[in-house]
């Protein structure tokens, strides 16, 4: 079907897009513009905010304390995205090359976690990782087994098992975020790989390229739109993650969203919270703008 410019059929365009546009305007742009206005305000008393046009909130938001928390959040989100990409790519490949019979089931396996509330999934993971959790119990059991084997062969037993700290630290936050965001990476990768013309891979292999070379020189470039979509769709929510660092993090695992949340609740400082939120939104806009700048080059590659 040929693509049609919206101006050629304005009635059809408006019929289809009026509802989502109105929705976005009413429930996204209007409320967000209030928050945007708050970010130029100051607290007067306990509940009143005076929109005075002050830039103090942004000045405070760019102090090193908050900038460092932003940078830390970005680093965590970037690490999560890289791990998701490394883990997700083989999964997406496996999905693409799975037989017709198995593919729906494998896809279901990726989708299934979406049907469970994020909170429940996070608590399940926490039960697994706790000091007395199943992960530690299994490790302790293996350790005892190894110790028993050593004694069996007449050697000194291993020292007593000390539970590993798997929860309430930065490791747990990264693990939790990867766990939550992996499907966001796999699905766009899968949709890109699935559309890929398999005969190109066959041609590459026939003409003497090895498997790895085919992967790097043929599959990866063709899957690039999927990779970029996956990176964006993983990086942006991970940057704003709030629940996972709150529940699974330790004493130094706060991310920027946790700081923003506290401004709206405990600190009762909505103008500053609004300014921090908008700094985060601007950062995300920049990421999205960078992605759209890449588009022409991708067109050439085709």
């Amino acid at each position: 079907m040929a693509e049609q410019h919206w101006k050629e059929n304005p009635k059809g365009f408006w019929a289809v897009s009026a509802t989502p546009l109105l929705w976005t305007l009413l429930f996204f742009l209007v409320p967000m513009s209030f928050v945007w206005l708050y970010s130029f305000g100051s607290n007067v008393g306990l509940t009143e905010i005076e929109i005075s046009g002050t830039l103090d909130n942004y000045k405070r938001a760019t102090e090193w304390l908050y900038v460092s928390i932003f940078l830390k959040s970005l680093a965590v989100a970037a690490l999560v995205t890289v791990i998701c990409l490394v883990v997700g790519f083989p999964v997406a490949m496996a999905l693409t090359f799975a037989s017709e019979k198995w593919r729906p089931w494998l896809l279901l396996g990726i989708m299934l976690p979406f049907w469970t509330n994020l909170l429940i999934r996070t608590y399940a993971l926490m039960m697994l990782l706790g000091t007395q959790g199943y992960a530690n119990k299994t490790l302790g059991w293996l350790w005892d087994g190894a110790s028993w084997l050593k004694v069996f062969f007449g050697m000194q037993p291993l020292p007593t098992w000390e539970p590993v700290q798997l929860l309430y630290n930065n490791f747990a936050v990264v693990l939790g975020l990867v766990y939550v965001h992996l499907p966001f990476m796999v699905l766009p990768l899968y949709s890109a790989l699935d559309r890929l013309d398999k005969s190109l891979i066959e041609a590459s292999l026939d003409l003497g390229a090895g498997h790895l070379r085919t992967l790097m020189k043929v599959v990866m470039p063709l899957a690039m739109p999927g990779v970029i979509a996956g990176v964006m769709i993983t990086l942006i929510p991970a940057l704003g993650a709030y629940l996972t660092p709150d529940l699974m993090g330790g004493t130094d695992s706060q991310m920027i969203a946790n700081v923003i949340e506290r401004q709206f609740k405990r600190a009762n400082d909505w103008p500053f919270g609004a300014a921090l939120s908008f700094v985060l939104i601007y950062a995300m806009f920049i990421l999205i703008a960078l992605q759209s700048l890449r588009k022409p080059r991708r067109g050439e590659a085709k």
Partner: protein, 368 residues
């Protein structure tokens, strides 16, 4: 008793998050039931036979709401909140439709100042006579114009007896020592943390200066590597699961945990601690103010108060209800700490100037 078995333990008053999934189902069912049966009915108060109650989790008797419905014909729809800040944030833009809310003492003060509470008509609350006179004329609401006492509570150290050989007697073990490194969890509530550190330094919780905040911040940063978690008032769960051996928690939460696990102890340190009190209030523009008065009056009834106390195990300011409770509750030193210990505990006043300083200092501690 609340029996949500997600974590193998009961939920405390403020650990709402864990309960939310299941609780939401429970509330929806109750809410729907109420809608179909009670539509259009009028209560003896002359108002529609409905009441919207905004309460903490695990903070009401098992049958209290049903009993009230049998007694007064008013069906109660209960929603749950997990922190005073959430309560306050919800009411900032006006009352979202609640009749009775349960803010803590400092938030009673704050909500009075913000004009969010309606004055109570004592003539409609005759059961006020059941309340211990010591809880009537309080600093945060002199003469009880806006609030009725529901429970009181105090912060202390909950610990696992088998892992902590000598019962701690000072805040030092939590705030200023590596003796139990990696086995400590403290509150994530900045204000409470700074006030208790002030107690440890021998100061009143209401006499903190910006210089003290700096000193306390330095102490917190020094202690941070030894702390495992700033918990969201679910310390009793961390203790029960064995993730930590010492927690800063409320006495009622630890009393609930001790019912399940007799290896758990509780102590209020010798430096003294902070008292809190949760209060029944009617927010301004409540849709059913007469029902709200009737409900508050019912909760202050001796028999109803006894049933609530049996479930939640918090100290009750309701003298008539306390008199009906068994001896093992009345003489429980965790629930009712000895008088000489209580003498060193104080209520914190709401201080709008210091609150943002606490928050920013605590953000620095977390980022350090």
């Amino acid at each position: 008793m609340s029996k949500l078995d997600l974590t193998g333990s009961r939920l405390g008053r403020r650990s709402l998050l864990q309960g939310m999934g299941v609780a939401a189902i429970g509330i929806t069912v109750t809410g729907l039931g109420a809608c179909t049966k009670e539509a259009g009915e009028t209560a003896s108060t002359g108002e529609e036979a409905k009441l919207n109650f905004y309460n903490w989790d695990t903070y009401i008797g098992e049958t209290t709401l049903d009993d009230f419905k049998d007694a007064a014909g008013i069906s109660v729809k209960m929603d749950l909140f997990d922190s005073n800040d959430v309560l306050f944030a919800k009411f900032r833009a006006g009352n979202p439709g609640y009749d009775v809310i349960v803010p803590s003492n400092d938030f009673v003060e704050r909500m009075i100042q913000a004009g969010m509470l309606a004055e109570l008509d004592h003539a409609q609350i005759p059961n006020l006579k059941n309340v211990d006179p010591g809880f009537i004329d309080v600093d945060y609401d002199p003469g009880r114009k806006f609030s009725m006492p529901y429970t009181w509570l105090t912060l202390g150290i909950g610990y696992r007896k088998s892992k902590v050989p000598t019962p701690p007697d000072s805040w030092k073990v939590l705030f200023d020592s590596d003796e139990y490194k990696g086995r400590i969890a403290v509150l994530s509530e900045a204000g409470d943390m700074f006030r208790l550190h002030a107690k440890y330094m021998g100061k009143s919780v209401n006499e903190i200066t910006p210089d003290d905040i700096k000193a306390i911040e330095a102490m917190m940063i020094k202690q941070k590597p030894f702390i495992k978690k700033f918990h969201e008032d679910d310390g009793q769960d961390l203790l029960l699961k064995g993730d930590v051996d010492l927690v800063l928690e409320y006495n009622g939460d630890i009393a609930q945990a001790m019912v399940e696990d007799d290896d758990i102890g509780f102590v209020i340190p010798k430096e003294g601690s902070q008292l809190n009190s949760d209060n029944l209030c009617i927010p301004r523009d409540a849709p059913h103010p007469k029902n709200a008065h009737a409900f508050i009056n019912y909760l202050l009834d001796a028999e109803a108060g006894k049933k609530i106390t049996e479930t939640i195990l918090y100290p009750t300011p309701n003298a008539a209800a306390k008199a009906l409770m068994p001896e093992d509750y009345k003489s429980n030193p965790v629930i009712f700490p000895p008088a000489d210990v209580l003498a060193k505990c104080e209520y914190a006043k709401f201080n709008p100037e210091l609150q943002p300083l606490y928050e920013e200092a605590f953000t620095r501690v977390r980022a350090a």
